[in-house]
Symmetry: C2
Subunit: 490 residues, 2 copies
């Protein structure tokens, strides 16, 4: 126990929950499986949105907005799609409440919808129904649209950020004249996601393809990025789907090419969600609280004054004002916590819990000596340094911290990818030292399912540019040409 | 008729619909009353969001996110609130679909929710239920939170942007220790809205208070900004509510003050929505299409080359590249439309329709003479000007256009506020020269209702700092101390 959070070695799952709640990131709502994202948590999500949105626009995409509700009939037009989502759909059946005459508010049965509406779990169907009106000719292609939205998937077992009935996400939906172009788009967006997650969240990822049974409902190919959490479980951090002509056929979306020949349009969709918050938290944090990479930290530097008399505080404040101006000019966010209701030690613990990358403590002796005490959240190291040149030093340190957090997670990930050729060893490892296991598989969904049933491990992905090697399936002994990555996953 | 849009004098309502659709702003979806906001329309909304979000943060607010669904029981806790919204609520009753065995997808009756969920029409109830957990002491106050979200109000008669079953908005929800502070907050946010609408949308507004019968369901006082559209109908562009202790009492949210005395918390809420898009379009546009104020135009300057041979185009392109660099350095967005599939005249009409503030046309003779043709969308004037100093000239012109658009709307508004003291004249004016009518009213809801029933005009607001004068109610002749603003409204 430390600062009221259980140790992650004691109970990783409980540690995560307590951390999310005590660091003011999010909390459960009274609505089953839905969460409230608190201002501190939301400000991290906003930073993610801003960066991603710019990346999408830099690759030629525009934002648009499609309806929250999808008519039930649309939803059933693509067969595997409805199979994939039907079991977790929130359904709107009525559009009015009324007073029952005895003071109770009840659903007005006379206001029943002719056709039920599904709260979108994803928007392929409503969007492809719309694209039918937007696309006639090759001149209308490509369509490169993204939507920031809330979606609902009625989950039975929920966890804050990782699996909630309502979540926030972005969903890109693009339309192309050729299969090649659509595949290139799906691959490009996977690269965008990998770049973002590694360079902003400081979380290393494996880029790969899903096996057919793990694909998105309606996709011909699903690309994914997979990250490894500190408990050795994998987390899918983003997916990009090549949808082929499935949705174009379901919604009859054709275009005429330059030779005036008609063909169905080729599609992709791709998304990341507030689940990334879970990946961020679980990759770096410790028993003292959050560890945030500086590039996504809402507060990058916090200054805590240590003083007895008001004039000491005024003196410190003067100095902090000039430091603030220097840091803000560099685009670095700084908070001066001059609350007189809390002691410095309390504040130290609070900013540790909230993952602020750098803490500056300044006392009266520091002011006399022209020094400050600088503490790093990632390494938990402290040093006394001069006030002169402090802004430049902080700028350099923030970059160093960002890199260090990534390096640490990368080293952990590398240490936890194990090649295994024996099924007993495979099972033992999953229990004793969980992580990614690179093993041979015979390529059949039956074997994949049996391994999943017996071990709870799934094939996370077939890595891109996977080395080809002869081998035997870990379960059946049948021949295999490459290893795939197994893990237990969130 | 012009460019395929009906004249606004012929049918204002039809003109608005055609304009929204042909300018690629939005379209209806197959879901009753829900709209699709297309990329061009959404990019204007995004600009609005960015500016407003900064204004909210500059006044101390943070963003957060609360659930889409509200338990039916919450909704009924504040009596006037449920009365205000019960008639237009989308209700979720089930959480699963299934195959009926004959290939049809139907609602799974076994997956019925124990308590129905309401899709939020506004979030006071779920938020005040949450604030109960956040507030114990005066130290926890104020809470200054905003949410960007979609909301649903099941409207029977819908219009793109103006009244849709689902719309996008922001809703601020603040909690305070004193009544005075909450009122000051509500008034501050009204000022923020007025500032935004006048200085960015270039739409002049009257700031005022609603009469008791026009207040938000659950508010003690509703402040509003009211704008006048070109057809003389008013449009409520934003509201800010002083909620008193109503929601705190409904959800039992108390705090202890410095003397450790318990009291209920004071509240405000305030919002603007995609309705602002309607106000923007209807305030300035004409029969040729949109007129956008430069500060919100997704494309501020468009360049159309006029050429016969490729080398002429290359020559023009060289010049445009350097102009672009200069404009981008000034933060001005420019588009070079070098499509060879459309003629210049077609492009001119298209950018007129889309409301691009400035059009630059460049031909080969211009390149020889060092000139360009510059056309303003707002005044429809053209001039030939030198390439030298063009970027600076454009910068100045965009400011001038922004001001001119506002001035024109302001002049129209001023010409259409009429003082009337006779009921017959009041009715005649509403039909013949609609606009704001400043008239005396006896202050009773009965008179207000009768005037509404007889004329369809409502009291839009009691202006802030309203001049006090003795008069007689236009309907009943009873004494009155001030004029209020009547209009037919959207």
């Amino acid at each position: 126990m430390s600062k009221g959070i259980i140790s992650k070695d004691e109970d990783y799952s409980q540690w995560f929950n307590e951390l999310v709640i005590k660091a003011d990131l999010a909390e459960y709502s009274p609505v089953r499986g839905c969460m409230i994202i608190k201002p501190y948590g939301y400000s991290i999500w906003e930073k993610m949105q801003t960066v991603l949105d710019k990346m999408f626009k830099d690759t030629g995409h525009s934002n648009a907005y499609f309806p929250l509700f999808i008519p039930k009939s649309f939803f059933s037009k693509e067969a595997s799609h409805v199979d994939g989502f039907a079991k977790e759909c929130a359904v709107v059946t009525h559009y009015r409440l009324k007073n029952d005459g005895e003071g109770n508010i009840i659903v007005d049965e006379e206001a029943k919808l002719e056709e039920e509406l599904i709260v979108r779990p994803t928007s392929e169907t409503i969007i492809w129904n719309t694209y039918k009106g937007w696309i006639q000719s090759y001149r209308d292609l490509p369509i490169l649209v993204n939507q920031w939205a809330n979606v609902v998937r009625w989950e039975m077992r929920t966890r804050l950020f990782l699996r909630t009935s309502e979540f926030l996400w972005q969903e890109g939906h693009t339309a192309h004249a050729t299969s090649e172009e659509a595949i290139a788009e799906a691959e490009q967006m996977l690269e965008v996601y990998a770049d973002f997650v590694e360079n902003w969240l400081a979380v290393p990822v494996v880029k790969g393809r899903k096996t057919p049974s793990e694909r998105f409902a309606g996709a011909l190919d699903t690309y994914c990025i997979e990250a490894l959490m500190q408990d050795g479980k994998a987390l899918q951090a983003g997916t990009s789907h090549f949808l082929g002509q499935n949705f174009a056929k379901a919604f009859d979306v054709k275009f005429s090419d330059k030779e005036n020949k008609q063909d169905y349009v080729w599609a992709t969709s791709w998304g990341v969600s507030t689940r990334l918050m879970g990946a961020l938290i679980m990759s770096h944090s410790d028993d003292a609280g959050l560890v945030l990479p500086p590039k996504l930290a809402p507060i990058q530097v916090v200054v805590v004054p240590i003083y007895k008399h008001q004039e000491e505080l005024d003196n410190i404040r003067n100095y902090v004002n000039s430091l603030s101006a220097e840091l803000k000019a560099k685009g670095i966010s700084i908070k001066f916590d001059d609350r007189d209701t809390q002691r410095p030690g309390f504040k130290f613990a609070e900013y540790e819990l909230k993952g602020v990358p750098l803490r500056v403590a300044i006392g009266s002796r520091d002011m006399q000596n022209g020094t400050v005490e600088l503490a790093r959240r990632d390494t938990k190291t402290k040093e006394t340094t001069t006030q002169e040149g402090l802004a430049a030093k902080i700028e350099g340190l923030l970059e160093e911290i960002q890199q260090n957090i990534f390096d640490k997670a990368f080293k952990f990930r590398e240490e936890n990818i194990t090649k295994v050729d024996d099924y007993e060893e495979f099972k033992r490892l999953l229990d004793e030292k969980p992580g990614f296991i690179a093993a041979h598989w015979d390529g059949t969904p039956e074997t994949e399912q049996r391994i999943k049933d017996e071990t709870k491990a799934t094939i996370r992905c077939i890595p891109l540019n996977n080395p080809q090697e002869e081998g035997k399936c870990i379960l059946t002994g049948r021949p295999s040409k490459e290893r795939v990555l197994f893990a237990r996953a969130y």
